[in-house]
Each structure stands twice: as C-alpha cells, then as structure tokens.
C-alpha cells in the first residue's frame, strides 16, 4: 500500500477506523483536537457515530456503555482530560471491557501547558483510578508505530477484555510523517458472549458490573484479574534495543524522546563513545527483562525523559541496584536537545571511568 503524509492525530484516527472502530466519544482538549475532529468528519461516512460528550468523565462512561455492547470503541484526550477519565478506566478494567484510550500528553501539573510532555508516565502506568487494576500502555516513537500500535491495540483490548492506552506525547499528535496502513496480522479472538445487546429472550441476561459486595468474591475477582495481568506482562511486553554492543553507558527513553536520544547516540559514536539505548515500547508492562542483556562494558544507566523523572523508578527496579542510575529531563513542554544529552552522557562517562 502507498504511504500517505498525515498529521499524527489524524493518522491515529484513521488507524482506529482501519481496526474497525466505528464509535468515538470525546471532549476537546489541545493538543489532540484533530483526532476527534477527524472522527466527526469520517465516522458518519461509514455509518459510525461520533459524540462530543459534555466532559471527559461523560466520554469515558459512554465508552463504558458502548464497550459493553461489544463494539470497538475509542476515546482520546490529553493529560488533564485523562485525569478525569481515571474513574471510568478503573470501572472498565474492573468490569473487563475492551476499549482504546489515546492520550496525547501535555505538560502539567494542573492545567499545565499545551506543549509535548512525558509527565503522564505515573498516570499511565500506575493509574489514578482506584483498585488493583492494570492496562497496557503503548508508547509509539513514530507515526508509523502509532498507526501500527493503535490498530493492534483494538485486538489486544478484545483479546484480554481490558482497556489499552496509546500514549503519545504532543509531538506524536502534532507532527506529520508518511504512514502506511498495513493489514494487521490476524489474532484468534475469543467470542464476545458477555455483551449487553438485549437477550432476544433466548439467553439469560448478561450483566456488566464491577461491584462485588462479598469480600471473598471480590478477592477471587482480583486474583483472576491479576492472573490476566501476569499473562500480559509475560506475552505483550515490547522494547527496542539500539547499539547495545559494548555500550559504556545505556540510555533509557521512550516515545519521541527516544528519537532525540538516538541522534545523540550516533553523534557520540562518531566521537568514539559507545552508548546504547533501551526503548520501552510498552510502558506497562515495562521491559524489566531487557536490562539483563545490558553488556558488561556498561558503567551506568541514564533515563532521559520529558518530565522531572518518572520512568526512572522503573529503570531502578529493572536495574536491581547493579549500576548507578542517572537522570536527564526537560519538562513543561521543553524538549531535550541532542547536545544536552551528549553533554550529560560525557559527564557520566567521564565520571564512570
């Protein structure tokens, strides 16, 4: 198929439609507006439905209802809006409903700003909703990857009956790149025999619910959910390794930050400094096991983020106290430069000798 030049937000919308999503519920917020705008334009053409909800709280609860019917559904927002969706995300996880939630994240806390940020790492991986729940978080670094992961997210959501988040920083939403909409590889998906579509009086009523007043029953449900989360941790974790052979410092970065880091790594290589990159593609589950493959030459780790340091917690967990872990980050919508990253690496590298 031919490549088309598209803006990230629109490419994600087109990917959702390609995956069979015909129902979208959202609320305006910068920098993701082109996504609901795209859906409001395109969905009516395929007999789909776009609803502009009165709030993100309402939008995620519309998703909760619509997902209950078994339809492939998506909502999108940006950081403060995702904060409001946490209630619904917890219910969706508790009632085991599939859906895809896109966060084109911006700077915080509070109203923050509208420029790209990765300060929603905790929000995405630890959740703000109540209870023992987890959901996959995809962190694309390119628009092609955003398209591929969005399409796949719908299958994964259906397969595990769980919400999936696609987390792109503002740059993923706003930049333009050529993308291709490939046929996704077929997954065997379980039948949706749990949906609320009306009994037609030929089956028992289906009930979608996250309430269990009996503590023993609720614990049983939590154990069942945990088993599912363990399977996801085992089977769906994804990462990329870059120039890890003989690396003396290993950087960890995700999303668009990883692209800047790669530029810095290439430039350092030319100066004779070997530096590698571990790029988590799934933030949850985090690629902890990838850290076992760090070569003996490595003296230190450096987490590079567009935040004041959030993923670094997972880097430390993965590191198991073996190597010094450093941090370089910019926040508030400021973007790290390759030069600044190089300088930080040299500082560590010099000290690590």
């Amino acid at each position: 198929m031919d490549k088309v030049l598209m803006k990230g937000n629109e490419a994600i919308g087109a990917a959702a439609i390609k995956a069979g999503c015909k129902h979208f519920f959202g609320y305006p917020i910068t920098p993701q507006n082109e996504l609901p705008e795209f859906m409001s334009r395109e969905l009516p053409k395929i007999d789909g439905v776009f609803v502009q909800a009165e709030s993100e709280v309402a939008a995620i609860n519309m998703i909760y209802g619509a997902a209950g019917t078994g339809a492939r559904v998506m909502t999108s927002s940006s950081s403060p809006g995702i904060a409001l969706k946490q209630e619904g995300i917890s219910y969706l996880a508790g009632a085991e409903l599939p859906c895809v939630i896109v966060n084109i994240s911006r700077g915080g806390p509070g109203l923050g700003g509208i420029q790209p940020s990765q300060a929603d790492y905790y929000q995405s991986t630890r959740g703000g909703g109540n209870g023992d729940y987890r959901h996959l978080v995809y962190a694309p670094a390119t628009l092609q990857e955003a398209v591929d992961l969005t399409i796949e997210a719908f299958d994964i959501a259906d397969y595990y009956r769980n919400p999936v988040i696609v987390l792109g920083d503002g740059m993923i939403g706003q930049m333009m790149e050529p993308v291709e909409f490939k046929e996704p590889k077929k997954r065997d998906l379980p039948d949706k025999d749990w949906t609320t579509t009306g009994t037609k009086r030929n089956r028992k009523p289906n009930i979608i619910n996250s309430l269990a007043l009996d503590p023993a029953e609720l614990e049983k449900h939590n154990i069942k959910l945990d088993k599912k989360y363990k399977t996801i941790e085992e089977k769906e974790v994804r990462h990329e390794m870059y120039k890890m052979d003989n690396a003396e410092v290993v950087l960890v970065a995700y999303g668009t930050t990883s692209r800047i880091v790669k530029n810095a790594i290439d430039a350092l290589e030319e100066e004779g400094i070997s530096v590698g990159l571990i790029r988590p593609i799934t933030l949850w589950p985090f690629p902890y096991k990838a850290f076992a493959e760090i070569p003996n030459t490595c003296k230190a780790l450096l987490s590079v983020e567009m935040s004041m340091g959030q993923m670094i917690d997972d880097v430390k967990i993965a590191n198991e106290g073996k190597l010094p872990v450093h941090f370089y980050g910019r926040s508030g919508g400021m973007i790290p430069t390759p030069e600044a990253i190089m300088e930080k690496v040299k500082e560590i590298w010099g000290g690590a000798k």
């Binding site: 129902h23 609803v51 009165e54 909760y64 619509a66 997902a67 009994t199 009930i207 619910n209």
Partner: protein, 248 residues
Amino acid sequence: MAVVFDRTQGLAEKQFHYCPGCTHGIIHRLVGEVLEELGVLGDAIGVAPVGCSVLAYDYFNCDMHEAAHGRAPAVATGIKRVLPEGVVFTYQGDGDLASIGTAEIIHAAHRGEKITTIFVNNAIYGMTGGQMAPTTLIGQKATTAPYGRDAVDTGMPLRMSEMLATIDGAVFVERTTVHNVAGIRKTKKAIKKAFEVQLAGLGFGIVEILSTCPTNWGITPVESLKWLEENMIPYYPLGNFRTPEEGK
C-alpha cells in the same frame, strides 16, 4: 386455581433487598410490567445506578449494566448510540441523578438521547445512611443536616423535572408518586409513555417518582406514605411537564 396475580416477566426470580416499606420495590415492579407489556424485554438494556438500587442489575430480567455513581445517562448514551434499536433505560436515585450526575442527566436530555430515565426521588441519600440530598426538604433532618436543612447554607431543594422540562431534547417529563394506589397507576402510565416516546425515537424521557425511605426518614412505612403526601407533594408538584405533541 386461577392465577390472579403473578410475578411479572420483567423481573428476575430474586428477592429484593430493600427495607420494609421502601417503595423502590413497587417502582421496580412497574418498570418490569411495562417492559413486559410493551414486549421489549428482549431488546432492553438497563443501566443501574449507585445507591440503594445498585443491585437493580440482579432484579430486572433483561441485560443490565452497572454504572458509576451518577454516570448512568452517559453509559446509556454509549449503549444506545451503538444499538439504536435497543430499548435503553436508566434507574437512578436523587443523589445519583440530582447531585453527582447532574451534568450527565442534563446533557443526555440536551442531546435528546433516545433513552428512558426512571428517577426515584426519596429526598435523601438512602444507601450511605441518610445524608442530605439536593432534594432534601427545608427543615428535614439528615445525618449531614442534623438541625434540619437550612436554605441559607444549603439552598432550596432542587426540582429536577422543572429544570429538565426547559430542555428541548427532553420530550417527556412527568412527576408521579407511589404513595397510594392512584399514584401507582399514574406512575405506570407515565413509565409506559416514557418508553413509548423512546420506541418512537422522539427523544429523551424521564419519570420522576416520589418515593419513601422509612429507614432514613426514621418513621414507620405507613407514616412515610403520609409524610411523602404532606411534605413532598406540596414542594414537588405532581403532573406532566412535557409530552410530545402527537401524544397529547
């Protein structure tokens, strides 16, 4: 022997957990009867609230979806937008609908969602133990209004039907009571009408039903019926606020 009264097909074979004298049970029965009589049980998807009727999903004999507190109209919107042929209803208390879920109910009405809302107004938060609701009457005692509700600090009780009737998309709005037989009959008629409005695709319909909570009002079931009549009806006048033209 001839059967003169039977369980409606609209209700599952489960025993209600409601307190003695609570009128939630009567309202459940009326909704079940209407679903059965309209022949829509197989297409019905109900949305249960958070409140004393949280377990409504176990009682109605149709597909059910349990919503977060106040969000039932948004959940119902999601369902109805995927299944335009479905018969979608919410069942909500006054804390659920008139406090935490005001945005959701107003905007479901505002969009003219083709859903039906059964709104049970008992002037109190039942499930959490009798705290003040936006619908609690002036002078009425609640666990968070121990001296009686005071308009200066807490405002006047919210009249949801009157408010919703100002919204174009809310094509059927009626307030009824279940404290006596005549009221129960009228309530059933109103519920049926609200579902018919949905079936005809005309817009949003709501029936606000004045209901008792003997447990948290701290009086007997019989006194509760009287209290409702003497205190609630004067402030919450019964009647129809909106009906689609052709149905008048």
